[in-house]
């Protein structure tokens, strides 16, 4: 089975700050990481390969520093990686991103070997639209199942997938080729292994494709190919903390203190009324 996993190189949003003037993310100087939601998808692909053989190829549309992230995923045991990178791809919204990714997947099918399954993470930590997977599936005209918690091979041409939703579970048999996105809690990604990492470093297993390779119409990619318009961004100002600490010996005193604080605070009182009613 040849499995492609889409992996996004994202700024570590825990370290990102908002520019108070423009309302946009300050990405400068923020270290990037592999989108944590994508690692369970890599894990799912590696487990499938362990059972039925084949190849795991990671693909990412990203600027060149993403090589660090691809090395990590290769270090987990993926067989090769394709970095799709070009200035004309910059500024893409989900539509343009999915277009480029789907064309890269078709190129993998044509030149490396037929792709049977495409796995994605559930969402990203920097935009979290969950649009990319569905859009890739439509560009490829393949079936798409999302929020998948387990995936089992079923012969050569199908997989059995389970979706764990809030109130019920579902099971599908999906014919291949297909696109599947994996829920973040579905499985624990394995750590990097020394041998895989050594191989990733020593053997050139990261292929780079630019638009000279993909030959896409520049009007359909990057900023130019992105119909999404950001109408407005709202910066939620940080609420200054009161920095009060109360340390009574008796926990009952602590409870009394905290309730008094909540009642004294106008905004909190409203919230509390909503919960306990007028008894307050």
């Amino acid at each position: 089975m040849r499995i492609v996993v889409g992996v996004k190189w994202v700024p570590n949003t825990q370290a990102v700050r908002i520019d108070p003037e423009t309302g946009t993310l300050i990405r400068k100087g923020v270290p990037s990481i592999v989108n944590p939601h994508d690692l369970p998808a890599v894990e799912a692909a590696l487990r499938l390969r362990e059972r039925v053989g084949g190849e795991v190829i990671v693909v990412s549309m990203a600027p060149p520093p993403a090589v660090k992230g691809l090395e990590l995923v290769l270090g987990m045991g993926a067989d090769r990686a394709v970095l799709v990178t070009d200035r004309v791809f910059a500024g893409a919204d989900t539509w343009a991103t999915s277009y480029v990714l789907s064309r890269a997947i078709q190129k993998i099918s044509a030149e490396i070997g037929r792709v049977d399954l495409v796995l994605f993470g559930h969402e990203t930590i920097d935009s979290s639209t969950s649009h990319v997977q569905a859009q890739v599936a439509s560009w490829l005209d393949w079936p798409y199942v999302y929020y998948v918690s387990s995936i089992e091979p079923l012969g050569d041409n199908a997989v059995r997938v389970e979706r764990e939703l809030e109130e019920y579970e579902e099971e599908y048999v999906v014919e291949l080729p297909a696109v599947v996105s994996i829920a973040i809690k579905a499985m624990k990604p394995r750590p990097v292994s020394l041998q895989s990492k050594l191989r990733a470093k020593l053997e050139r297993r990261i292929i780079t494709w630019t638009n000279a390779d993909l030959k896409l119409d520049p009007r359909c990619v990057g900023l130019k190919g992105s119909p999404t318009v950001v109408a407005k961004t709202v910066d939620m100002p940080e609420v200054p903390r009161k920095k009060e600490v109360y340390r009574p010996r008796d926990p009952k005193d602590a409870a009394r203190w905290i309730i008094r604080k909540m009642v004294e605070d106008e905004k909190l009182r409203e919230v509390m009324k909503g919960i306990v009613g007028d008894e307050l």
Partner: protein
């Protein structure tokens, strides 16, 4: 997998170095330069990412490895001012020394260690990050490689550069679990401030820096001290606290807050806070360091196919209020690399041939300093030095500077304060004399 990376075989190296801190990267750099195939393994993401320190490195021992240091290294400021303060409540007594030469510089440790690792890589060492080593593998009394997860790589020599928390060495039985009284916890905040304000407030020229050590009740009576280092556009402030004594203080209820609150106490202390007025706290962190001096040095720094360098080897001089671990880490790694090169030329990495490393260390300044400061551990066992002495010093100063209409002489002032503190002058003189001789 038949195709290797050409130069490298996938599972066999001449040297495997565990840990890409200052000592590991130095050893990897020198050995790669001497033609060894070196694998440098680091568990953090990127070399240096897990490191935290105060902030001052002595340059000369580093120049011995990298003559290009002054031009290439990420040097933030050359230390031109050394300050020591003793604080007690709102009182503070400060001593300042102005240096002329380029003796020591400040730099964030992740940056400095990152530079050293880059040097090792460009000399040909292979650095793999995010790879934790689980075990140094010993077969028939000889270190033969390392294991990470299920993977093994073999090496003619393994260098243990894992730092002060030497789990691998303990597993091998080459070091005992240290007493908590031989370890200290460093807690630190990084404050960001316009470089011009840093220079104005501390009275510095553009590339000049200040190193400031603080003794007194900012540690809540726990043996240890505080530090302030100016970087290019940040100021690092923090405390180093003896872990054994901190645990006792917590038990007795003297230390009620999280230790980070003590750093907050330093940041907001009336004597200090105006130096970093309006600065933002952009980072905070903690890391363990060594306080045991010679007691922390393992019985042997070498065995068949194995050398121990840097903090893991106890190559850190802690004078009680200042920590010197980077130049000593670099020096011990340099000596280890020399010994390995000599052993190769003598035909093998046997115990006998590697013994030269320990001899080199014994002849070096590190050992001399370790011996000289070995009495420090004794001071740490005695909180007297950290509570009575600062209070006495600041009291004595108050007698000198706050009008008392009696114009006491210095000795008189100390004596009078000592009486108020109920300390016998003799006991005091004995203690201070012993400390001064050792520091």
């Amino acid at each position: 997998m038949a195709k290797g990376g050409g130069l490298f075989n996938l599972s066999k190296f001449d040297v495997v170095v565990v840990g890409a801190g200052p000592s590991g990267s130095t050893a990897a750099y020198l050995l790669a330069k001497a033609g060894f195939k070196v694998l440098l393994l680091e568990r953090g993401r990127g070399a240096g990412s897990k490191l935290l320190w105060g902030g001052k490195a002595y340059a000369e021992p580093l120049r011995k490895v990298w003559p290009e240091l002054d031009k290439e290294a990420p040097i933030h400021r050359w230390v031109t001012k050394e300050r020591i303060s003793i604080v007690w409540g709102e009182r503070a007594l400060t001593l300042e020394y102005k240096l002329g030469r380029k003796v020591a510089f400040t730099s964030p440790l992740p940056e400095l260690a990152g530079w050293m690792a880059k040097k090792a890589e460009s000399a040909g060492a292979l650095l793999l990050d995010e790879v934790p080593v689980d075990e140094i593998v010993v077969k028939e009394g000889r270190a033969v490689g390392v294991r990470s997860g299920n993977d093994f790589v073999s090496a003619d020599v393994v260098i243990d550069a894992e730092g002060a928390n030497r789990i691998l060495l303990e597993k091998l039985g080459l070091a005992d679990r240290p007493s908590p009284y031989d370890m200290a916890l460093g807690v630190k905040e990084v404050l960001s401030l316009d470089p011009r304000l840093i220079e104005e407030r501390f009275g510095l020229e553009r590339d000049e820096g200040l190193s400031w050590l603080i003794l007194g009740d900012i540690t809540a009576g726990i043996p240890g001290g505080g530090f302030v280092y100016t970087m290019r556009e940040t100021i690092g402030i923090g405390l180093v606290l003896n872990i054994g004594h901190a645990a006792v203080a917590a038990e007795k209820g003297i230390l009620r807050d999280h230790v980070s609150r003590l750093v907050e106490g330093l940041r907001t202390h009336p004597y200090f806070r105006n130096y970093w007025r309006e600065a933002d706290v952009i980072e905070y962190g903690g890391r363990m360091t060594i306080e045991g001096g010679l007691r922390f040095v393992p019985k042997r720094l070498y065995s068949n196919g194995l050398l121990v360098v840097g903090d893991a080897a106890g190559m850190l001089v802690n004078t009680g209020y200042t920590i010197r671990g980077v130049d000593t880490a670099v020096t011990s790694a340099r000596l280890a690399a020399e010994a390995i090169i000599e052993a190769r030329d003598r035909g093998g990495f046997t115990e006998e041939n590697l013994r030269a490393y320990e001899e080199k260390v014994r002849e070096s300044y590190i050992y001399r300093d370790l011996v000289e400061h070995s009495g420090i551990a004794e001071i740490f066992d005695d909180p007297f030095f950290f509570s009575k002495v600062p209070s006495l010093a600041t009291r004595a100063a108050s007698k000198l500077f706050e009008a008392d209409y009696g114009e006491p002489s210095l000795l008189e002032a100390i004596k009078r304060s000592a009486e108020e503190e109920e300390i016998s002058l003799l006991r005091l003189m004995l203690k201070v004399g012993r400390v001064v001789r050792r520091i």
